[in-house]
């Protein structure tokens, strides 16, 4: 599935919720389900320090050269948001990641989580994901 198709999938998934509570319960659930980042990657080198919550991000190449992201956070809502980002961007080609327009966040009504004033590490994480996309472009693994 392309990044765009994944975004559409998320948008449809969130269309079922008719109040904020269901939406946040789902985010919390996604946060709990996010596969744990391996302990070796949960270090200073992978840390993105938000003022409010901390985020760890790791990127690897798969055999076909696509980028595999794993990530974690100490806050569960941040982690749920991370799960969405990972779902949309992980396994994609570096150039697609670098150029991705993540419009789904706005469409599911959670864009306030990407406001810099929240300082939860998410904005920096997305920047970092795209940076990996750029850095991996034209390289083989």
């Amino acid at each position: 599935m392309s990044i765009e198709e994944k975004q559409q999938e998320v948008i449809e998934e969130f269309a079922f919720f008719d109040d904020w509570m269901q939406k946040y319960e789902h985010i919390i659930e996604l946060g709990k389900e996010l596969p744990l980042i391996d302990a070796a990657s949960k270090d200073e080198d992978h840390l993105i320090k938000g003022c409010q919550s901390r985020v760890w991000l790791n990127a690897e190449r798969s055999d076909d050269g696509n980028v595999i992201f794993t990530a974690d956070s100490d806050a569960i809502i941040t982690k749920g948001m991370i799960a969405l980002m990972v779902r949309v961007l992980s396994g994609q080609r570096p150039e697609d990641i670098a150029n991705a327009d993540l419009h789904f966040v706005k469409e599911i009504g959670l864009h306030e989580h990407l406001s810099p004033t929240r300082s939860n590490g998410l904005v920096s994480m997305i920047k970092q994901m795209k940076f990996y996309g750029v850095a991996f472009q034209g390289t083989k693994q």
């Binding site: 509570m21 319960e25 919390i28 003022c51 409010q52 809502i77």
Partner: protein, 411 residues
């Protein structure tokens, strides 16, 4: 509303704050982030409007009518602050941009002149970064040392440890009157007296005290006392630094420019007298005037009446919060003002803060600009609710429902 609230008419107070009358995420706003900044009564908002509509002008230098009106309104605030703090002279009241600015002024002027290599600066474990970083900058520059007055488990400063630290004869002792993170009220008068005995200069960060306590700088006998307007129903961008006249007089200017000089040649200048020596450039005139209005507003209700009201709210909220499973109060000092800091189980403060916001309740989460304090307590941060003159028990009821809901969702 029950009991003593009949004497304190919170509805009448509340009606003066137009901002409170709104919905956030479809719920009525409950504003419990007063320690970060309080809202403004119409009297303050009107003073700003009145100033810009009718008598804005640059102050001090003008012979014309508007300049005189603006100057006298601005200087009137200085007189009001002098009275409010019970300073002994108007010259001891310096306009700043806020607490942070005032403390930097002390560090850069008094500190640069008086701190030398090997000197000791004593700060408390409760300090806001604003009363920490300016001292670190000057300590690094001069090769001075910083030591920290430790806490006990209730979040009170350990007075025995303080007495011991004083034996090392610090040049400067800096602490807050009220802690923003935990609400602890420090025994400022006794701490100042003890520091004075060893000859130390004393700086008190009053940012969190001015909205809740009647402060008397002569009684405290501190050398400096700094606060911000915006935490005490006044505007942002203006604050006050009180300094003892003889201490201020011996200090060199910090910022150079207009207003702070008495004569200038291309080679050198002679500096203006107090307080203008420390007020370079066109000041924040409008907000300075409105700060005086805010103090009048607080005094009109009475600080002790406000404090009593807030105490009732704190007690009421604490009682109900106790019933929540896993509730951990952070900071249980005997003397507290207007703040409840807490954690629930292992729920991350950010998560709870986010859900409370969805339910219209504004709280603060995180380290509250007191990172070393949070490290000392072994926690990443807290959730903090803080009350002001306009908050009600009804709002607390709504907050408790939201809190229970949030905890349920995150457990």
């Amino acid at each position: 509303m029950t009991g003593t609230e009949t004497t304190y008419n919170v509805d009448r107070v509340r009606a003066q704050f137009p901002i409170l009358n709104q919905e956030v995420h479809g719920r009525p706003l409950v504003y419990f982030d007063n320690a970060a900044s309080s809202q403004k009564p119409t009297a303050v908002i009107e003073a700003l409007r009145e100033y810009y509509n009718h008598y804005h002008s640059n102050i001090h230098r003008g012979v014309h009518h508007l300049a005189q009106l603006a100057t006298s309104a601005y200087e009137e605030t200085r007189t009001k602050v002098k009275a409010h703090l019970n300073a002994s002279a108007r010259e001891e009241i310096i306009f700043t941009y806020g607490t942070t600015d005032g403390i930097n002024l002390i560090a850069q002027s008094w500190g640069r002149k008086n701190i030398t290599a090997g000197d000791l600066i004593l700060i408390s474990a409760l300090e806001h970064h604003s009363n920490m970083v300016p001292w670190q900058i000057i300590a690094e520059e001069k090769g001075a040392q910083i030591k920290v007055i430790p806490l006990n488990d209730a979040g009170e400063l350990d007075q025995e440890a303080y007495a011991e630290l004083l034996q090392d004869e610090p040049k400067l002792v800096a602490f807050n009157h009220v802690s923003n993170a935990l609400g602890t009220v420090n025994p400022a008068k006794a701490m100042t007296a003890a520091a004075k005995q060893t000859g130390a200069t004393v700086v008190i960060d009053g940012a969190q005290a001015i909205p809740h306590l009647q402060v008397d700088v002569q009684d405290l006998d501190c050398d400096f006392y700094a606060f911000s307007g915006h935490k005490a129903y006044g505007p942002t961008g203006v604050g006050i630094l009180y300094g003892k006249r003889e201490v201020l007089e011996a200090m060199p200017p910090w910022r150079g420019g207009g207003e702070m000089i008495s004569s200038v040649s291309y080679e050198r200048s002679t500096y203006n007298d107090l307080p203008y020596k420390f007020e370079a450039g066109t000041p924040n005139i409008a907000d300075g005037i409105a700060l005086g209005v805010a103090l009048d507003w607080m005094n009109g209700i009475g600080i002790s009446a406000i404090a009593q009201h807030e105490h009732e709210l704190t007690t009421y909220a604490t009682e109900q919060m106790q019933a929540i499973d896993g509730m951990r109060f952070i900071g249980t000092a005997k003397e507290k003002a207007g703040v409840i800091s807490f954690l629930v189980g292992d729920i991350h403060p950010y998560d709870l803060g986010t859900l409370l916001d969805q339910m219209g309740v504004a709280v603060r989460t995180g380290h509250h600009c007191t990172e070393p304090l949070m490290n000392r307590l072994g926690i990443p941060g807290t959730i903090r609710v803080s009350f002001g003159a306009y908050n009600t028990k009804h709002e607390i009821d709504r907050y408790i429902v939201a809190l229970e809901q949030g905890v349920r969702m995150l457990s």
